[in-house]
Symmetry: C2
Subunit: 542 residues, 2 copies
């Protein structure tokens, strides 16, 4: 009886957030999903453009990214209002198919867009480098006046006073925030499900996870509900959704983008730092995002940040050396992922870019450090927050919480782990210098994707959080192919974890899914990494 009461109590509370979402959905754009189903198209991003729900203008607008939008605005060809409306419409349709939103901000977005248009009419100039650019924002990033529950039922009542600093800076540059996006319980899944608004689906295939924790952003960018998405990443939470949804995602070196004003459970945990970063539809937009943020000197407000403005990095194909890591030695990537890297190696060589094999350095130590430092309190804080509301702990939350110590670490254990972390960072950096490697090309995940509820192997992305090296996931231009990428039943896994991931490879399921790769830079060489990614993507597309 008591358990029923408790359940009904957390459900009642969760309903508040569901109602907010429901109420916020622009009703004029509700669709009959059968219209999409009738296209018989697995990839709903393609389906939506076939089904007739969007006008040609709306399709063009939602296929345009930052530079294109600014050009249309400057030429007076499009208004911000029309563009923002088109994105809201597409997002409304996308939400019905993918359940990616936690709240639409349609009215304020349209008002902001009108003001931008007014400004342009009156002055002939754009307000900034993101004038009229529709931006989606992950749930736990504070939006002034909104309730930010950070996917915890017990936090549903917390109304945020002020925009998070990252949101303020985006708005100051002219961005229009039109939708908030879903994330998993505890923000510590590479998947996207919670007890409040439920599971987000992948626009490429609804059986697949959109990745996580910025899974709502992955779906939003994949479906083109926004131009830029603002995610967060402490173990792959920007890069996995980007990888799974055929998008671009950048995790900078920690302490470059401001996290000030984020809602979470773990404030003050500094052993492994999460960070804010962008998802987008191309590398240029990731770069524009960072330039916009760093040019505004966020360290003048959030003093924990490193005062490094955006630098124009000098990287040229002739001097770039790319280390390629095909396998981290722990979990073997699926055949399409290996093939994408083999193809990349060929294309890079054909473009005159030097490549070397990157042998991973002590990734098990990285995982050991991460799994202890993610929850140095033994998960007590997060469990206490669940207990407050009585919401059930989901399996992937339990998985994350039980990787490390079940008891709080002692202060001395945390000191030892901090020292091991710094040692590993020094070693890895020294090795890159010693081997003359500027960037490392590697998998974004062990597979091309993962079924809903299943992604558990974090280390292809998380190792770079342990090392605090910037990393960007982007499409490899290779698509999984059941004929080329045969499952190798004879493979003898190195561990249970390797076995689990290896068995997750299903050539039929993944056939046709684009393969992502991840490019990793040196600590604090974020600009050099992004420039290198441009060069490498150019080679992969050639």
């Amino acid at each position: 009886m008591s358990s029923t009461n408790q359940q009904s109590s957390w459900e009642t509370k969760a309903q508040i957030a569901r109602d907010i979402l429901e109420k916020s959905i622009p009703k004029q754009w509700l669709i009959d999903p059968k219209v999409i189903q009738a296209t018989n198209t697995r990839n709903v991003t393609i389906a939506v453009e076939k089904c007739g729900l969007l006008t040609d203008d709306e399709i063009e607008m939602t296929n345009t990214t930052i530079d294109g939008l600014l050009e249309k605005y400057r030429g007076g060809i499009w208004t911000a209002e029309a563009v923002v409306a088109a994105y809201i419409k597409r997002a409304t349709i996308g939400h019905q198919l993918l359940n990616f939103a936690t709240e639409f901000l349609a009215e304020s977005a349209i008002n902001t867009a009108r003001n931008l248009d007014k400004h342009f009419r009156e002055t002939g100039t754009l307000v900034g480098p993101l004038h009229g650019v529709p931006v989606s924002v992950k749930e736990h990033i504070g939006i002034g006046g909104a309730r930010c529950n950070a996917s915890f039922v017990s936090k549903i009542d917390s109304v945020i006073e002020e925009d998070a600093l990252i949101v303020k800076l985006l708005k100051a540059a002219g961005a229009v925030i039109h939708v908030r996006t879903n994330q998993p319980q505890s923000i510590m899944h590479l998947d996207c499900n919670n007890n409040i608004t439920g599971m987000t689906l992948n626009p490429l295939d609804e059986r697949l996870s959109p990745g996580g924790s910025s899974g709502g952003e992955g779906a939003a960018i994949g479906f083109r509900c926004s131009v830029l998405g603002v995610g967060t990443d402490i173990g792959g939470s920007i890069r996995a959704p980007a990888a799974f949804c055929n998008a671009y995602g950048f995790k900078p070196t920690a302490l470059r983008n401001p996290s000030f004003g984020l809602v979470g459970a773990m404030g003050g945990q500094e052993g492994i730092r999460g960070c804010v970063g962008p998802l987008a539809r191309n590398l240029d937009d990731l770069m524009t995002f960072e330039k916009v943020i760093w040019d505004q000197e966020p360290w003048e407000v959030d003093t924990v940040l490193v005062p490094l403005p955006w630098r124009e990095a000098k990287v040229s194909p002739g001097t770039l050396t790319v280390g390629i890591m095909f396998d981290d030695g722990l979990v073997r990537p699926h055949p399409p992922v290996i093939r994408a890297l083999v193809e990349a190696e060929k294309k890079l060589k054909a473009s005159g870019i030097e490549t070397v094999l990157w042998e991973p350095h002590n990734h098990p130590e990285g995982w050991e450090i991460l799994r202890q430092l993610y929850f140095p309190d033994g998960g007590e804080r997060v469990r206490a927050i669940f207990n407050e509301s009585g919401e059930p702990v989901m399996p992937l939350t339990e998985y994350a919480l039980t990787r490390g110590s079940k008891e709080p670490l002692t202060i001395h254990q945390t000191w030892d782990l901090n020292m091991r972390r710094e040692k590993l960072r020094r070693e890895y950096h020294a090795l890159m210098r010693e081997r003359g490697v500027d960037v490392i090309l590697c998998p974004s995940y062990a597979g091309v994707g993962a079924l809903q509820g299943t992604p558990t192997y974090w280390l292809y992305t998380a190792i770079w959080n342990a090392l605090d090296q910037p990393a960007v996931s982007f499409p490899s231009n290779v698509v999984a192919d059941k004929d080329l990428d045969k499952a190798d039943a004879a493979y003898e896994p190195r561990s249970d974890e390797d076995k689990k991931e290896w068995e997750a490879y299903d050539p039929e399921l993944f056939h046709g899914i684009p393969v992502s790769v991840q490019l990793v830079g040196k600590h604090h060489r974020d600009e050099e990494l992004l420039e290198a990614a441009k060069i490498i993507e150019g080679a992969l597309l050639s």
Copy 2:
């Protein structure tokens, strides 16, 4: 009986370090202290130049700082060997008077100097910007091949393999390390006494503390035993000795100078970060030290560092605004300190530099954060190290260890304190911007100095560690004067701590002692701070 055994055991071990020191002292320069006493001079730095022990050349060499030395070397007028020998001689005399050294490195220093001279003879060029500059180094900074006990008896056997990174960088620039210097037990006193090599005295007056924890450096620079000293500071440990010994000391923003290769008890403690920094005999030499370190990109080795090379800061008297903080609201500075700041205010105004009153912002919160985060383990680590050897815990160690929690903090308590620390840093920075204040001029300590064994009020320096703002201590050009700086018996102290410090003011004792001031910059504006200090010192000397 057992306690006697234990005592004899730690004494035996301590004797190893004492023997190393004793053996290292260059015997040819041992003096009869009566020669100094015969000068009837309280300030032994003055006495040593009067007493005839040093030749005119030796006096001139040991009064010359970096630029002067390089000029003489370039002109072929002095050899590095002669200069280094002069400094070793002066240091040997100084050590007998002040007990500031833990080990002389005379032989290697002379060899290094000879190699530098050879290089110059053969190439006509100096090896770097610190060619032949004698540098003293605090005990716990690793010197390859030496035993670094970090003033813990139980660490006396630990032989260091490699030089600390800071030492490597100094040597690469041509510096000659000729002597290692004393520090207090636990490295957490504003004084300089330990169970191994004992108490260091102040060259200005042997009754006074040289300050600490870099007290050996304070005495060394004050007596001109070296041109540059390498200290460390987590609460005032560079600035207090500089202040007490009429020297210059700079604590940079943390994570700019490398601490990699330091020996200590608290590795991995990151709540409040200590840092390495220079002591010197003028501001130019502090700046040269930093330029030398930052130009060598230490972050390429010690990846925890912020990758900021030395910047030429643009600061001009016409645009500089100096906030003056006469009193932190907790402990009232002694009359000579207040007078130095009043004088400074007049001189700054007379030089056309804008000044405003700086009202301290929540310094009690800063102290609360510091006292909890210095020893978040309740002091267990340090006490365990004492127990290992059985060495007695000294009163000032006990004082430091008992400021915070006697029990280890919980992980959640450390998170909360980390968040409070970041909040205070943001607030303080915002306030400086809001008030238009570029730098804050304030006391280096509540008094002009302190009797041996007595300095306990840390907050005039430590607040800037809590805030991670760079700070430099330097002579104010005002000297304590019993006639001008009367004790005010009518003053009603605000607290026991205030009372203790107020009663410590002894006009007779401090008469004639130079008064230090401290200048504080914005977080990460280290170069701007040092440039501002140059301008302000210029005004104070005018």
